[in-house]
């Protein structure tokens, strides 16, 4: 069922300023959900071929209210509800993209995107390659993902590993309202299918968002150092960026200077930024919520291990979800990577050497 503990989350996650410099004077304070809503509205307004559809995205405005008001403003033909079938949603989006549209579809929760898996992996990801580039699929699959909202089973999966492993997909994951806005607009402009992962835990986090900057396609594929530091580097994304920043703040009180890299785009991976950051400190911790085995965290650890080998003072540590199904709400605090666990990992980075 739809488990919406918005009230809970609304207070739990303090605002964190967008890391992309001081907000422009035009910036308004938005939640991440609001920023996504704004990005959708701005794209719907700018381009007639943009369409928004999925389950409950119309009159209801989505179970997270991300599409609130879009049908009222743009009409039933631009933002509409579909029958309850995720393969149907992604499959028809592919057909629409083949025919000149730029569909942006919503999967209601991460685990409910699995019925669409074949359409995503065997078609969305492969159509351009199949047709030697004759048919591109400019489409966005929005997936609310991750935990931290006290959701019941199937409502808190972190499914990014499935998508990043699939060649042909571009996978994006914002950690701030500003990035949610910026990256979603870039994703809608992107010529290829983008899986856009929205950290549920951050939907109600607030920050100033500049909506005036021109859409910059190059934002996709660009990681960002969101905190400078000299002793160790935390590489992370999504809701874990906040955990990493909190851990870095605690570490600072203990005399350790921790750099934090927000990966932002999971594929393609911004190796240059990540490797430079890790080489500068010589120590790395990768943090992510998903089960660790064969995950994005594994890939980041493996790449860093391979390309920064001679710079590393210690093994790359991973702080991830356990290799178990996501915890029930009352045990979720034990499951999710938290500040303590990140600091333990930092502690283990061979400081004695």
């Amino acid at each position: 069922m739809t488990m919406l503990e918005t009230r809970k989350s609304e207070t739990a996650h303090p605002a964190r300023p967008a890391p992309s410099g001081p907000p422009a004077p035009e910036a308004s304070v938005l939640t991440m959900a609001g920023a996504i809503n704004r990005a959708l509205a701005d794209e719907l307004a700018a381009d007639d071929s943009v369409l928004v559809f999925g389950e409950d995205v119309g009159a209801l405005g989505g179970v997270f209210r991300v599409t609130d008001g879009l049908t009222a403003r743009f009409g039933e033909s631009r933002c509409f509800d579909t029958p309850l079938a995720e393969s149907g949603i992604v499959g028809t989006a592919i057909g629409m993209a083949m025919n000149g549209m730029r569909p942006v579809v919503e999967m209601q929760f991460d685990a409910f995107a699995y019925p669409a898996f074949e359409q995503v992996v065997s078609h969305a990801a492969k159509m351009s390659n199949r047709t030697r580039g004759a048919v591109h699929l400019p489409m966005v699959i929005r997936i609310p993902f991750g935990g931290g909202i006290g959701g019941v089973e199937h409502h808190c999966d972190s499914s990014e590993a499935y998508y990043v492993h699939t060649p042909g997909l571009t996978v994006v994951c914002p950690a701030t309202p500003q990035d949610a806005y910026t990256l979603l607009r870039a994703a809608i402009h992107h010529p290829d299918p983008v899986v856009f992962l929205e950290p549920k835990k951050l939907y109600w986090s607030k920050a100033p968002v500049d909506t005036t900057a021109p859409v910059d396609a190059a934002e996709i594929g660009r990681a960002r150092v969101v905190r400078e530091g000299t002793d160790a580097t935390i590489v992370t994304y999504g809701a874990s960026v906040g955990v990493a920043l909190d851990a870095a703040a605690v570490a600072e009180t203990e005399g350790r200077s921790i750099q934090v890299v927000d990966v932002r785009t999971l594929t393609p991976c911004d190796d240059a930024t990540i490797f430079e950051a890790v080489r500068a400190t010589g120590r790395a911790v990768v943090v992510a919520e998903a089960p660790g085995f064969a995950s994005v965290a594994s890939e980041l650890a493996a790449r860093i291990g391979e390309h920064c080998f001679t710079h590393l003072e210690a093994p790359v540590r991973r702080v991830t979800g356990f290799d178990t199904p996501f915890a029930p709400p009352k045990l979720e605090r034990h499951y999710l990577p938290d500040v303590d666990r990140v600091l333990d990992a930092v502690d283990s980075l061979h400081w004695e050497d």
Binding site: M1, T2, M3, V152, F322, T324, H334
Partner: protein
């Protein structure tokens, strides 16, 4: 032509109308008065459980509750149509049916309370875990029934889903497998006119959901989903057909979701109050009450007994929900596999170590908030 038998009637089967008056039907005999009294008793209890759960959500004792308020006739009939050895495959909205199959209400709410993903032993009650991913459980039901058939056991399986769930591919595959293997499954669709905010008209253009049955070669039937007598008669027939080797069938119950999808939903965004109001008159309880009173089958005294029983169930439920159970974090690692893997063992050791350190530092057991962290380190 074979297909005529498979098509549903134009109007849903009804045996007792909205005023409690019996309606005669050419095909379905009304259930015995005894059975109807039993059903009414379960209806009263089901309504009380629904309303108690909604209250528990408001009090913060339950994380979420998808109420079947208004759909209790379907819930009760699904449970009563089955024998003890039969199996029920319910969804998240079917807690009342699960309870009517004698699962302890508190156990049935473990999922919605957030303690664990399911709270009862399916094998003890012959009730599968309440399914969240829509329509997926229909396939489990078909496989389950198929296994019983292969072993020559007389098990019948009743599999529930909503109108929205019929749009999923798994609904189609389950219907088809059931028909091809001719297994004893009754597919019971509660058409409550909404899938969260999406009305039936956006879900299907079919004359009725029961019209899907012929496309699989099984009979489809439509029934008034607020008439527990009609539901029992139709489901009894379907169960009997299944048990006697007649294969699967599809029953569509026309009912209505009287409350929001869950407490977290705001149904004023997508439906008019009058539409909801119109269904108050079709309430499954008042109708059966009027009927049984009219038939002299229940009186004030019987009603008082039923109400008291229901109140007892509600009280027990309240008490169970107010007690805070001790949850063991090690459970996260206990049931993933029959035998814990070395990786999970070492992950548990890491967590246990964190918990031990936190306990030593005097913080409460469990991973700690950022503030508490510093103390623990």
């Amino acid at each position: 032509m074979i297909s005529d038998d498979l098509l549903p009637r134009e109007t849903p089967v009804q045996l007792i109308d909205e005023h409690g008056t019996a309606v005669s039907d050419p095909r379905y005999a009304p259930p015995s008065t005894e059975r109807l009294v039993e059903a009414y008793r379960a209806l009263v209890q089901g309504r009380r459980v629904n309303d108690q759960c909604s209250a528990l959500v408001r009090q913060g004792r339950l994380a979420v509750y998808p109420s079947s308020h208004g759909q209790e006739a379907c819930q009760v009939a699904a449970a009563l149509a089955l024998g003890d050895d039969d199996w029920l495959f319910p969804t998240y909205r079917d807690s009342v049916a699960v309870i009517a199959r004698s699962v302890d209400p508190a156990q049935s709410l473990v999922l919605l309370r957030g303690d664990w993903h399911s709270g009862y032993d399916p094998k003890e009650f012959h009730v599968a875990p309440q399914a969240t991913p829509l329509a997926t459980q229909l396939l489990h039901a078909v496989g389950f029934a198929h296994a019983a058939t292969l072993r020559g056991e007389p098990t019948v399986v009743l599999a529930m889903c909503g109108d929205g769930a019929t749009s999923e591919g798994d609904f189609h595959e389950a219907m088809n497998f059931a028909a091809v293997f001719h297994v004893p499954v009754v597919f019971f669709v509660q058409n409550n006119e909404f899938a969260i905010s999406v009305p039936l008209s956006r879900q299907t253009a079919a004359p009725s959901l029961a019209h899907k049955a012929i496309g699989y070669g099984m009979p489809g039937e439509r029934v008034d989903g607020n008439d527990v007598a009609a539901l029992l008669a139709v489901l009894d027939t379907a169960v009997e057909r299944a048990r006697s080797g007649g294969g699967p069938s599809l029953v569509e119950a026309h009912t209505y979701r009287m409350q929001a999808h869950t407490n977290a939903d705001d149904d004023t965004r997508y439906r008019a109050r009058e539409a909801v109001q119109a269904w108050v008159e079709r309430d499954p309880l008042t109708r059966m009450q009027a009927h049984l009173r009219g038939a002299g089958a229940i009186d004030d005294e019987a009603e008082a007994v039923f109400a008291a029983e229901a109140e007892q169930v509600a009280t027990a439920l309240r008490e169970a929900m107010n007690a805070e159970p001790e949850l063991d974090p090690e459970d996260l690692f206990r049931f993933v596999y029959a035998e814990r893997t070395p990786q999970l063992e070492s992950q548990w050791r890491m967590l246990r170590d964190e918990l031990d350190r936190a306990a030593m530092a005097g913080t409460t057991a469990g991973a700690t908030s950022p503030g508490a962290t510093e103390g623990a380190r």
